[in-house]
Symmetry: C2
Subunit: 249 residues, 2 copies
């Protein structure tokens, strides 16, 4: 698996405050009604009646009916932003955004049944799909903003930041969808590590830990010498080049 | 410029039917009011009154007020889909999706003033931003669907298709935003070709035409020999390797 010990893993999200029980009760009531009657046919009044609380309590936790469908994204966005700004600037940037994207996967994986139910609901309701796109866009902006800072001095830094952030989000979502479509039947962390490993191989400046079965030439990188020479260069010159190459260790 | 002669260019969009004048009049009236009064403060009734037509005419062309802000996306999506399905399957896939993304840029560049006005409007109105995200998502799906077909037989083909499509869209949008922020002051085609050239260099299987100033090692690829050897390999073996390398031409 590609995560370093510095990357947050499930159960280690120190920033997550304990959720108020009323908030949980509202989410549970909402989903029970969405599944029984359909999303459009359920009103906020129906939800608060089932949860046994007043309308004001609902709107204390959720600005709208759509927000109750995605109750953990604000916390996850805050966790991601905190994680990205907590580094000392020495982290390999592509690895860092991959580890940040992993946090979103872990949020989904915390509640597999809920995540699969929501996935099915979101596919059926265009308004929820639009809401989800705006959430995904906020994650992508958080990753891109971090990369823009880190790649500021590089030529085309902004372009590369935007492209890498989009690639990370697409790889993450590919793995997340595979997991959701499987009904949470596959290992979500293995799926996301495989997908993000591919992005790190493409864009990273350090070798990614590869899922088993991948090419392993990089594992022996320190043992390998690469000589690039023009065809037609006299052999003695090539030999000289090899002989004078700086020794390692 | 990276586009081949096979890629559609401005003024060559054969599929574009002449636009009905009433539709254009509605768009013009809508934007005049959006700029004068603000988007939220303008109703469909205001728009049809200024354009001198009835409400039914408006809804014949536009399902909602949001749609009048993006009057050309449906045509552009149709053009893009037609372009992607018109190939003979021999095209290099990454180049093909880059050329398809270029169509969107050309649509914006057709009406620079309108595009810049809309960009400023969209930044101010969250609902329009959400609408735009859903449009961008449809473009990305069109590119990803094409790539999924083309990369079907490749290992992790779906993952690579999704990642490449996202990278293409991000690069395109980076260039588009640069152009819009400049008030249409820079060359939009040069900007998008530079951005897409970077994606083609990363993912493509053929060398992209590079914007001037880029590394040119690939230009001399046929003159270069790369020897990969383990450190500690006896020199005579390296020399033997070089001497017996297959000759080119």
């Amino acid at each position: 698996m590609s995560s370093s010990s510095a990357a947050p893993r499930r159960g280690e999200k120190s920033g997550a405050a304990a959720k108020p029980p009323m908030r949980d009760a509202l989410v549970a009531a909402a989903f029970r009604l969405f599944l029984e009657r359909g999303y459009e046919q359920t009103t906020v009044d129906d939800i608060v009646a089932l949860a046994g609380v007043g309308r004001r309590s609902f709107f204390r936790y959720f600005p709208s009916k759509e927000d109750v469908v995605f109750p953990d994204h604000e916390r996850c966005l805050a966790d991601m932003t905190a994680f990205l700004s907590s580094g000392d600037g020495a982290e390999e940037p592509v690895r860092r955004v991959c580890d940040a994207a992993r946090l979103v996967l872990l949020m989904y994986a915390e509640n597999p049944d809920f995540s699969v139910q929501r996935y099915r609901l979101t596919k059926q309701v265009p308004g929820l799909r639009a809401y989800e796109l705006s959430v995904v866009w906020r994650y992508e902006r958080a990753l891109a903003d971090y990369l823009r800072r880190r790649l500021r001095d590089r030529r085309d830094g902004t372009l590369h930041a935007d492209v890498i952030a989009a690639a990370v989000v697409a790889a993450h979502n590919n793995a997340l969808r595979s997991w959701l479509r499987s009904g949470a039947g596959i290992d979500p962390e293995a799926a996301v590590d495989h997908a993000l490993g591919s992005v790190r191989s493409t864009f990273g400046t350090e070798p990614a830990a590869r899922p088993s079965g991948w090419a392993t030439a990089q594992d022996r990188a320190e043992d390998v010498m690469v000589v690039v020479t023009r065809r037609g260069t006299p052999l003695w010159r090539v030999v000289q080049e090899i002989e004078t190459a700086p020794a390692r260790d």
